[in-house]
Symmetry: C2
Subunit: 115 residues, 2 copies
């Protein structure tokens, strides 16, 4: 039956980080900016949430640190780059499916200002 369909809803912070990383490997500070951008500034992550979530996600193997770094002339050695693991991809897909389903139901019930 290919379980998947993660039965455990992700926390918003974890979800947003997974989402940001889906469009390419990023370092911490960059993730925070991407999240703000993706949500048009509606979601702003505090540093505690950011680095705390990253730590938990590493422990849960949703993400992993990568050695891939940009060209030395644009790099910053302080950075730590992260990428999604296969498990992270699956978790993201499951959660996105949930989001899409909510939106679909909302549309059915005319709760959305279409647009």
């Amino acid at each position: 039956m290919e379980n998947d369909q993660a039965p455990a809803p992700l926390t918003p912070a974890v979800f947003h980080i997974l989402f940001a990383l889906a469009s390419g490997d990023k370092h911490g500070y960059e993730i925070a900016k991407q999240v703000a951008e993706d949500s048009q500034g509606r979601v702003r992550m505090g540093t505690g949430t950011l680095y705390g979530s990253i730590k938990r996600m590493l422990a849960d193997a949703l993400i992993e640190e990568t050695e891939q770094r940009p060209a030395p002339d644009v790099d910053d050695e302080r950075r730590r780059y992260y990428q999604l693991t296969e498990q992270g991809h699956r978790a993201l897909r499951g959660e996105l499916a949930r989001y899409a389903q909510v939106v679909a139901v909302a549309r059915d019930r005319d709760l959305l200002a279409s647009a």
Copy 2:
């Protein structure tokens, strides 16, 4: 300036309760069942979360108790019915817009198994 565009993301529990109430007034226990149904069993709310959230939402005027009760023969006097306030409607709309936006971006980035 028509503020709206709630800058504060709702907690998942609050969002799901608002969503459930958008399709009609309901009592506590009924809300929990609706949430489970709407999410196809993916979201199950513990009683602590349910009644705790309701209490906070009443305090924040997102919902209010209503006197409207079903016909006495199908009623249960233990129940407490709730309905969305105008503010609750606005909060729901704002959050749904956020959800829809996430889904739209996900679609753009090919993160969704279309369907």
